[in-house]
């Protein structure tokens, strides 16, 4: 199968974020970056599908400034065949502007399957995948926890709140992947060497109109300091008393 995977460069979420002087972005000083967790699952899913189902091609696509080449190279070192950077000096806050650029790139690519992560772990919108599907008029299953493909048909499971549904559709299609899908493999040394010679094309991103601006970013209020009630089972009566009289949740 010819599979496209759309990935995003995001900072490490373990970071203690600071707000930049502009007040409308995080301070990028000293941040470490990787591809978004779910996008890693999407790359892995594509690689495993093509490994199992015989000859295919995995193409990774990322939108943003030249630094996104770092994440594209990582996907190549995991085993993707080629990469495309949709060059843009920044990543818009409007998912539809991004989806418009991705749709323009994907439209004539002849892909059987286009994969996204459920959401980028930084902006946490989960909009670009289904928006791209809408613009391309393709079948779309979002946030799938399992995916099976045979003879051009796909079966996927989606977790709902307290329930799940199994959906069926034909390829070509767009799928966004959630927990339950395979974790990204670590690139091998051989993979890293091979990635250096794999093609990485750069094209200008044809962004759509932007209707969303980031006005402000701020840190949420810190939780008030809590207290250690005590140690071991002996502390239970005091905890229950506090839950009853102070927190009033019991």
């Amino acid at each position: 199968m010819k599979i496209a995977v759309c990935i995003k460069r995001v900072p490490d979420m373990e970071t203690r974020f600071k707000i930049a002087a502009s007040g409308s972005s995080v301070d990028e000083t000293g941040l470490k970056y990787d591809m978004s967790d779910f996008d890693g699952y999407a790359v892995e899913t594509a690689l495993q599908l093509n490994e199992k189902q015989g000859p295919g091609e995995t193409v990774v696509i990322s939108l943003g400034p030249d630094v996104v080449q770092e994440q594209l190279r990582k996907a190549l070192s995991m085993g993707a065949d080629r990469a495309v950077q949709l060059k843009s000096d920044r990543v818009p806050a409007d998912g539809l502007a991004i989806a418009t650029a991705l749709a323009a790139e994907l439209k004539s690519g002849g892909y059987d399957l286009i994969l996204f992560g459920r959401q980028a772990v930084d902006s946490a919108n989960a909009t670009v995948g289904p928006m791209t599907a809408e613009l391309l008029d393709l079948p779309c299953a979002t946030a799938v926890s399992s995916l099976e493909i045979a003879n051009g048909r796909a079966t996927a499971r989606r977790e709902l709140e307290g329930a799940a549904e199994v959906v069926e559709f034909s390829l070509p299609a767009i799928v966004s992947v959630d927990e339950g899908m395979p974790r990204a493999r670590y690139p091998s040394l051989k993979g890293i060497m091979a990635a250096k010679k794999k093609p990485l094309e750069v094209r200008p991103a044809q962004l759509g109109e932007e209707r969303i601006t980031i006005e402000k970013m701020e840190l949420p209020p810190e939780r008030a300091a809590g207290r250690i009630v005590g140690e071991g089972p002996a502390a239970v009566p005091e905890l229950v008393r506090l839950l009853h009289t102070e927190a009033k949740v019991l």
Binding site: A163, V166, P220
Partner: protein, 329 residues
């Protein structure tokens, strides 16, 4: 005076709590527009119209009811086409969906069909001149972004539980509508619905969540977490990513950055060290209790009350004490 659209989510012939939240949020927006109407959109199998009056309780002036046998299960393509058509025709200032599994699937499609801006997972909102200004948690909940959406209608999905539904009773008028796209002709069809475990409360709805981590030492010991949840009576069981990765619990139980984000009245973290992956999913709980053997564990930094010790020893004692407290009332 502009009207506001609300998507009222139902499943299996019953409204979901998030339906009242979206209607109530739409009510607040309509009032802010100088008293416009709230038009709720309710779709499902024939018979779903009987739920319309419940939406009136939360301020829906009109309930647009779309009944079709093919809408018994979620059908994103038909629903997105129908909702987009109604929103286009209705001249709404804003359209509110829930950031539930269904709303997150549906709202981006509607925004793309209409070519309008969409904000996801909104925790607060206000109209400011000709813009909709919203707050949205980003960076694993460590940053709150304020976004400005220009253009009309603005679409948003509301973070479940972020804003309680407020009663504002009206006599809702019911308008019947037809699906704009045949549900049977959708490219993606639900083949099977898998219900959750019977009467089990979902982690998104439960006022109390008891969650377990690796500190429980084995899948078997999750029984102790289940027992404590049962003692509370109104509790659901959650888990960390480490635990769902190990297969102790299903992925649908995972609370955290890559799982569900919850904000119950009480969150009891059992044998959970408090990696950012997990904290991102539960830091907005009203009261947090942590039980962990390592007194330096990061979970104690977000907990209101902590007990240091072996969770396997402490849980049975806590379960008995909670039972006793509840019996005493």
């Amino acid at each position: 005076m502009a009207n506001t659209f609300a998507f009222a989510e139902s499943r299996g012939g019953a409204l979901r709590r998030v339906a009242f939240e979206t209607v109530s949020a739409a009510r607040a927006l309509a009032d802010a527009c100088g008293g416009g109407e709230v038009h709720a959109f309710l779709a499902g199998a024939p018979g779903v119209s009987s739920l319309a009056s419940e939406l009136g309780k939360y301020g829906a002036d009109v309930v647009i009811v779309v009944e079709h046998p093919g809408l018994a299960n979620a059908n994103a393509e038909s629903l997105a086409a129908t909702a987009a058509e109604r929103i286009r025709a209705g001249g709404y200032r804003a359209a509110v969906f829930s950031a539930s599994a269904q709303g997150r699937d549906l709202a981006p499609r509607v925004a793309a069909k209409l070519g309008v801006g969409m904000a996801a997972d909104v925790i607060a909102f206000e109209l400011s001149g000709d813009a909709l200004v919203v707050k949205h948690p980003a960076y694993a909940g460590k940053v709150i972004a304020t976004l400005k959406l220009t253009g009309s209608p603005a679409i948003m999905t509301l973070h479940p539980g972020a804003r309680a539904a407020v009663e504002a009773p009206t006599e809702a008028r019911v308008e019947s509508a037809q699906p704009a796209a045949d549900p049977g002709a959708s490219k993606v069809l639900v083949k099977e619905m898998i219900a959750g475990g019977g009467a089990k409360l979902d982690i998104g709805d439960a006022p109390v969540i008891v969650s377990g981590g690796r500190g429980l030492k084995s899948a078997d010991n999750f029984r102790l977490v289940e027992d404590l949840a049962a003692a509370f009576g109104n509790a659901a069981v959650g888990a960390t990513r480490a635990v769902t990765d190990d297969g102790w619990r299903p992925h649908s139980d995972q609370i955290g950055q890559t799982g569900r984000q919850v904000s119950p009245d009480l969150y009891v973290a059992c044998g959970i060290s408090g990696a950012i992956q997990h904290i991102a999913g539960m830091r907005n709980s009203r009261t947090i209790v942590a039980i962990n053997k390592d007194k330096e564990a990061p979970i104690f930094k977000v907990a209101d009350y902590g007990i240091v010790g072996d969770v396997v020893e402490i849980l049975p004692v806590l379960t008995a004490a909670v039972k006793e407290a509840r019996e005493k009332g």
